[in-house]
């Protein structure tokens, strides 16, 4: 590839904090990398791990998961569940032969537009260094991404 690799990143945001942080970044005209496309969930606890697998199987090079700071969850404690799922996802990805660094968890409150922008920039940079996501072939030649596509 001659051109600089531009990863595609899917981001999942919480309606109460990080989605509003993205709004705040916009209102303040804070510039950040355009590689991230955000999907709004009501809570990071809504993040079904299959969403992440689906995104990676469907052409994303990385997935950003954002939620309220520990203790600040709009639904009391569901962001801790997102944290647990994130840890499991990293292990699962490793098992698939995919770099666990392709997923990132960021806590960003509604006031932290600047922080969210910085974290997005840093993550885009990390994924850019990792290069395009290449699913390793399995021995029986079936493609894990296809398998995921089916189950998802």
């Amino acid at each position: 590839m001659s051109e600089k690799f531009e990863p595609v990143i899917v981001g999942f945001t919480c309606n109460w904090c990080s989605y509003r942080a993205a709004d705040a970044a916009g209102t303040a005209r804070i510039k950040y990398e355009p590689n991230v496309r955000l999907i709004r969930l009501m809570c990071s606890g809504r993040l079904d791990p299959t969403f992440v697998m689906k995104a990676l199987a469907g052409g994303a090079d990385g997935v950003l998961i954002t939620g309220c700071h520990p203790g600040d969850c709009h639904y009391i404690e569901q962001n801790y569940k997102a944290l647990r799922r994130f840890m499991l996802l990293r292990r699962t990805l490793k098992g698939f032969g995919v770099e666990p660094e392709r997923i990132k968890l960021v806590w960003a409150s509604a006031a932290e537009g600047m922080k969210l922008a910085h974290e997005i920039d840093a993550f885009v940079d990390e994924v850019r260094k990792l290069g395009p996501l290449n699913w390793p072939k399995w021995e029986n030649e079936s493609n894990p991404a296809e398998v995921l596509e089916v189950t998802a």
């Binding site: 469907g58 052409g59 569940k81």
Partner: protein
């Protein structure tokens, strides 16, 4: 699983937002691309318009819904938090269920944060594709209606909380006013005069306190704290701890004999800001509301070594009750107003100003108490020895505020407060006053006129941030004085100004426990620690949590008029809710498909609202929609896919992921697929 309707007819509307969006995004390009490439997903019409949210823009959509029979609408414009309601209401007017309309944020998430037009346009297309694919799976939903409990909880009995409580109580509804100190009144009760009118603070505050104290619609709970909150807008359940006063409120007449007879004195760190004393059985000040005293158990001789009981011996009504226990009250309320106020910056942190080390350096609150006729010096302005009158006084502004080392924000009241001090010093002692300021901020009604008055009175102003307050004299005339070292930026010179007394105008800070209090009520703080408004301009007393409002300094530094306005504003919001009698809740809820539920109980422990229960007879799980708050954690956890999260179903999110990745290069290159 909700079925994908047969070819739903989707309309896409791309907004220019003047040039806010079209300045960076090729709006026509997005429009054409959607028309051409998203036809397979059901897009039958794609339009752009200068201002989609204008009445003409809305009419355009309504007309299309009626004439083209649109079944879904996607508006690519600003954040859904701004205009989702606008467009959903427009759809509803045209006969389309509001939940079949979705917004795509291509302003906050694209045009305002990116600069490259080609890339921004591609990103906009992806986001539109994602939402078009998602909206196909949206289902018609109805808002849930729940009755509103007409009672209100007001937390904090400062002027903002008192105002809020009175407005609601006068409106005919019941209020529980909770205050953790023994009396309501807050910081305002500590001040002597208020700027710029020089009204006596107590004279204007105490009638309000009395009104709140005796109002038939207000249950006043002082010396009390909120321990837990559960429920949701309209139906909160609150547990309040009423700390033991050791005084029976039924019997006490507030005569004050117990206070008089109590042999034990301690420094009053709260009301007298550490420069005065109080008895161990005490009311913070003479006009306290309620009038019942409190026994400070940790300092009480009887509690320490079992002897004394002087108060009990002399009480004419036998109101002293050493066996009293903390009481826990459970109250049901529909709305909550937090007016928890502020703490003051700890002046010891600015070590170079010498507070705590140099005796004649005072904080602004100490100075307020000193000026107050009921304060420890009976209103005499003296040095720390309590006798000597100062001949020169230096007032330092912005202590702890507008300072990179401490707080970046402006505490907004200190300029006016400092000017008031200059006036009081002049009036009462005739001493010379120096004001050390960075910028003079006097923007409200009659404030600048007051500044002019203080200038005319001969107060000396030095523009510059003070470097140091020291007692190390360098010259004869500095001996025995406090020397203020400052760069006078108006003449560009370093100056050393010897004074007898220094007053530090300390800034406001969020309450030390504001984060915990926020967590208790489910609201969040800004990076500085102040509570976050729903919208800083258009909704300053609401929070992200329905039914929880904020007023006064809890959301940032304010003066008295602003705090009172906010108290009244929060009350108006609450009255509005009460008068509606019921509240509409977003229908975003989880429900169990009982045919699919395997009874594994994985979801059972995930719900923090106890909305999930297991039905033993049927060996399945059920969700109570009135308790469910719609976070979706159980939906994500169900291994059988038996729980449906309305509005954010798996089908909707999967379709959105698919749509968003339509243009991903990996997909066109066939990588990963």
């Amino acid at each position: 699983m909700s079925d994908k309707p047969e070819k739903p007819r989707v309309g896409v509307y791309v907004c220019h937002c003047g040039s806010n969006i079209s300045g960076v995004v090729d709006v026509e390009g997005v429009r054409d691309w959607a028309q051409e490439h998203l036809a397979k997903d059901g897009v039958v019409i794609s339009r752009d318009y200068k201002f989609m949210c204008s009445s003409l823009g809305q009419e355009l959509i309504e007309k299309d819904i009626k004439e083209l029979g649109l079944e879904r609408v996607v508006v690519a414009a600003c954040s859904p938090h701004l205009h989702e309601k606008t467009f959903r209401t427009a759809s509803e007017r045209a006969g389309l269920n509001p939940y079949l309309t979705e917004l795509v944020s291509i302003r906050e998430q694209v045009s305002w944060v990116h600069t490259d037009k080609a890339v921004a346009t591609e990103k906009s297309k992806s986001l539109v594709a994602g939402t078009v694919e998602r909206v196909v799976y949206n289902t018609a939903l109805e808002k849930l209606k729940v009755p509103i409990n007409p009672n209100t909880l007001v937390v904090g009995g400062g002027i903002a909380g008192i105002q809020a409580a009175l407005e609601i109580a006068n409106g005919g509804f019941h209020v529980y006013l909770v205050e953790r100190e023994p009396s309501i009144g807050g910081h305002m009760a500590q001040f002597d005069k208020t700027f710029p009118t020089l009204d006596c603070s107590a004279c204007i505050l105490t009638p309000r306190m009395v009104e709140a104290g005796y109002h038939p619609n207000i249950t006043l709970l002082t010396w009390s704290e909120v321990m837990s909150v559960s429920g949701y807008v309209g139906n909160f359940n609150v547990t309040i701890k009423k700390k033991a006063r050791f005084v029976n409120e039924e019997l006490c007449t507030g005569c004050g004999i117990c206070v008089e007879k109590c042999p034990q004195q301690v420094v009053d760190e709260i009301y007298e800001a550490g420069i005065g004393h109080r008895k161990v059985v005490y009311t913070p000040f003479a006009q306290a509301v309620p009038k019942y005293p409190v026994i400070d158990a940790p300092n009480c001789t009887f509690f320490k070594n079992g002897k004394c009981k002087a108060c009990e011996k002399f009480c004419p009504t036998n109101a002293i009750d050493f066996a009293q226990q903390d009481e826990y009250l459970n109250v049901e309320v529909g709305n909550i107003i937090l007016a928890t106020g502020y703490d003051l910056f700890d002046a010891r942190r600015v070590t170079n100003y010498g507070y705590g080390r140099l005796p004649d350096v005072f904080t602004s609150l100490e100075f307020e108490r000193m000026c107050n006729a009921s304060g420890p010096t009976n209103g005499e302005i003296t040095l720390r020895d309590g006798k000597t009158k100062p001949k020169t006084v230096g007032v330092i502004h912005c202590v702890g505020s507008r300072d990179k080392n401490f707080n970046n924000y402006c505490s907004s009241i200190c300029c006016m407060q400092s000017l008031k001090f200059a006036h009081l010093v002049k009036e009462r002692t005739g001493a010379d006053v120096y004001e050390f300021y960075i910028d003079m901020r006097t923007p409200m009604k009659s404030y600048d006129e007051f500044y002019q008055r203080v200038l005319d009175e001969g107060t000396l102003f030095v523009r510059g941030k003070v470097a140091e307050v020291t007692n190390a004299a360098r010259a004869e005339h500095e001996k025995g004085k406090l020397i203020i070292q400052v760069e006078d930026t108006l003449i560009g010179k370093q100056r050393r100004i010897p004074v007898d007394m220094v007053v530090l105008s300390i800034g406001m800070e969020p309450r030390a426990d504001s984060k915990q209090t926020g967590q208790l009520f489910g609201i969040s703080c800004s990076a500085d620690g102040w509570y976050l408004e729903r919208h800083p301009k258009l909704d300053p007393v609401s929070t992200m949590t329905e039914g929880v409002f904020i007023a006064g300094c809890a959301s940032g530094p304010k003066d008295i008029p602003a705090s009172v306005s906010q108290g009244a504003a929060a009350a108006a919001r609450v009255l509005d809710k009460i008068l509606q009698k019921e509240v509409e809740l977003e229908p975003i809820r989880a429900s169990v498909n009982e045919a699919k539920c395997s009874g594994c109980r994985i979801c059972n422990n995930l719900c923090p609202f106890n909305a999930i229960s297991f039905i033993d007879d049927l060996a399945i799980t059920r969700i109570n929609p009135a308790l469910c708050q719609g976070c979706g954690t159980c939906v994500a956890a169900c291994p059988a896919g038996a729980i449906n999260g309305t509005g954010f179903s798996n089908e909707q999110i999967f379709a959105q992921i698919d749509g968003i990745l339509t243009l991903a290069p990996a997909r066109s290159a066939g990588v990963g697929l």
